[in-house]
């Protein structure tokens, strides 16, 4: 972040946007390799016996099995070679075999990713909407009672243990009040819509299955609500600060001096000006959402990365956990690259020299 247009210009005199994007892409790819080094290191170098963990105690006591495993996985090779093998395996979709499901981790995860991304995207939209509304309100009414209330509300949002909130709200809205649908992505009576995007809501709409769409949406409500509480708190506080700063900016004063007010000033001038810092924090908020899914999905039996991580962690399935770490790292990097792209779109100083 924080690239000045001037720094970008040096890289490509003709089209600064291309230079900017190449730079960001380069950073992302480097970080991606960093992520694989971390997961590789954790899976292979930490104390403890990864072989025993991979084979299970029984098989690990048989020297022949262990030897065969070491040969097969190339564990007798020097570490750099092992890392290269690991990377080339990753490129072929080899993330190891889950100890828990006995399936390749990659195929397990490929089913789980859309479920989680669907939740996370909806949650970020909800959080952004509520956060921008509350944050702007607080900034406009700075120091007033409503500002204080928003402050307390957002601090409480930041203090709620998500996994507990998931449990409590599931208990209350489903088991007690029976107004929320049960766990999972769809009611048991419905079949998943034909896969296009992997998002049930979108796929159901594409297939014209209205009932499936509403059912899928209803199942999304509670997990999205629980996940959003923290990010709403985060975004509200941040939007308030950014909007306050922009309200002080000369260009907003100039807008006022032109006789602009109300929504025209708020959306056209204030929020547009605050959009860049807010965008940065949205990328960050996405990280906390992905973190949150690990703690929330299990409660709702939502078949995503979070549930997979929870089940892998509780059954000490190291390949499964590493796979989740890697995939979430990649998803997070992708999101942040998308944020960088949007940055270029929203800021003409980045887009045009």
């Amino acid at each position: 972040m924080g690239n000045t247009p001037r720094a970008t210009r040096r890289y490509s005199a003709r089209s600064p946007l291309v230079g900017y994007l190449l730079r960001r892409l380069g950073t992302s790819v480097l970080l991606l390799f960093g992520v694989t080094i971390v997961t590789f290191a954790l899976a292979n170098l930490v104390p403890g016996d990864p072989i025993a963990a991979a084979l299970g105690e029984g098989a690990a006591s048989n020297p022949a099995t262990v030897e065969a495993y070491i040969k097969e996985r190339g564990l007798d090779q020097p570490l750099p070679v092992q890392y290269v093998n690991y990377i080339s395996g990753l490129f072929q979709g080899d993330m190891g075999i889950s100890l828990r499901t006995a399936q390749p981790v990659a195929s397990d995860l490929s089913k789980a990713v859309p479920a989680t991304v669907e939740i996370a995207l909806l949650a970020i939209v909800v959080s952004l909407g509520v956060g921008v509304a509350l944050g702007s309100l607080a900034a406009y009414r700075r120091g007033k009672i409503s500002d204080q209330l928003v402050r307390v509300f957002s601090l409480i949002g930041l203090s709620i243990p998500t996994f507990w909130m998931a449990l409590v709200s599931f208990n209350f809205f489903f088991l007690q009040l029976r107004i929320a649908p049960g766990s999972g992505r769809l009611s048991p009576a419905l079949a998943p819509p034909p896969t296009v995007t992997g998002f049930y809501t979108v796929d159901a709409l594409l297939a014209g299955q209205w009932v499936t769409f509403t059912d899928a949406l209803a199942h999304l409500m509670l997990p999205v609500f629980v996940l959003s509480l923290f990010t709403i708190g985060l975004l509200t506080r941040f939007v308030r600060t950014s909007v306050l700063e922009v309200l002080d900016a000369d260009y907003v004063r100039a807008g006022r001096a032109k006789g602009l007010s109300g929504p025209r000033l708020l959306f056209g001038y204030v929020l547009r000006g605050a959009s860049l810092p807010i965008l940065t924090i949205v990328g960050l908020a996405f990280g906390t959402l992905l973190s949150g899914t690990v703690l929330v999905e299990a409660v709702f039996a939502w078949p995503g990365l979070g549930s997979y991580a929870y089940n892998s962690a509780t059954s000490l399935d190291l390949p499964g956990v590493m796979g989740v770490g890697l995939v979430v790292g990649v998803v997070y990097l992708t999101i942040n690259f998308a944020v960088d792209l949007l940055y270029g779109v929203l800021d003409p100083r980045v887009r045009l020299a």
Binding site: V35, W164, T288, G325
Partner: protein, 284 residues
């Protein structure tokens, strides 16, 4: 006569900060004394199982016949001291690394900051989970994992402050006078870092508690029968109908995290002048 050290500037006393401080102090008090006064042994499994809250068991009993109130109170003694320790550890290490990076610059800075980039390329809970799983499930390993993910923010903040200060005249003057790097860091730079770091740390106590209890919820932290809040909540998943098993530990986490957040947020108002500066009279 009022003693000078008791005087607190009026601006520091905000309703939010006071409420937070009172709750936080109360919880810390409970954390260190609970074992002395709880009505039941938190580990003893000799009460009726899954008993709803009542007169003798204020918050009911769990599936193993343990008193939840007693476990909750002694549980404070598990989570809170660990969280405080974690924050102090991250603060010391992170601040030192950040100061070194900012002060020496060049390849030292580059190396250390790429390291923080790497840690921050993961969402925190995910990386902590991966590290904790790799190290093996235990409360100690959970603290290590939480430490791995939480020091970089201190390093980042300290570095940026130090970078800003390094070129200031009085810091340059100190260096010209022959201050050693560490004297410069200690005398000229440290005082400027204290405020922002204190704000970050007080807000981070809440994050640390959420992280540690989250890892325990995942089974990667405290192991049974330790009375830890996160693992108490995870036990509630198996007993959905007994709402009290999960409700109270969660409220405990919520109140203590909220208290530290209230304090941290009020401290921010004090130390960060930009968040408070009156728009009135900013220009004349």
């Amino acid at each position: 006569m009022r003693k000078r050290w008791l005087k607190i500037p009026a601006a520091w006393i905000t309703p939010l900060g006071v409420i937070g401080a009172v709750i936080a102090v109360a919880w810390v008090g409970i954390a260190f004394t609970a074992r002395l006064w709880v009505p039941f042994d938190p580990l003893a499994q000799d009460l009726p199982r899954l008993q709803a809250p009542g007169i003798d068991t204020l918050m009911g009993t769990d599936a193993l016949g343990r008193d939840i109130f007693s476990r909750l109170m002694t549980g404070a003694g598990v989570t809170i001291p660990l969280a405080l320790m974690l924050v102090v550890m991250s603060l010391l290490v992170g601040t030192l690394i950040g100061a070194i990076a900012g002060y020496f610059g060049k390849w030292v800075d580059e190396l250390l900051m790429r390291l923080t980039d790497l840690v921050m390329a993961f969402p925190t809970v995910i990386l902590a989970m991966v590290v904790a799983a790799a190290l093996g499930p235990s409360l100690f390993n959970a603290v290590i994992a939480a430490f791995v993910v939480s020091w970089p923010q201190y390093a980042r903040m300290t570095r940026s402050i130090v970078l800003g200060l390094r070129t200031q005249n009085y810091v340059m003057a100190g260096r010209l006078m022959g201050f050693s790097p560490f004297k410069t860091l200690r005398v000229d730079i440290a005082p400027n870092v204290v405020g922002p770091i204190l704000v970050l740390a007080s807000l981070d106590v809440g994050t640390a508690i959420l992280l540690l209890s989250g890892l325990s919820f995942l089974g990667l932290g405290a192991q049974p029968p330790t009375p830890e809040w996160g693992s108490m909540i995870s036990a509630a998943i198996q007993n959905f109908d007994s709402w009290w098993i999960g409700l109270f530990p969660g409220l405990a986490i919520l109140t203590v995290v909220m208290a530290f957040n209230f304090v941290g947020d009020s401290l921010r108002d004090i130390f960060d002048p930009t968040s408070q500066v009156s728009r009135a009279g900013a220009r004349s």
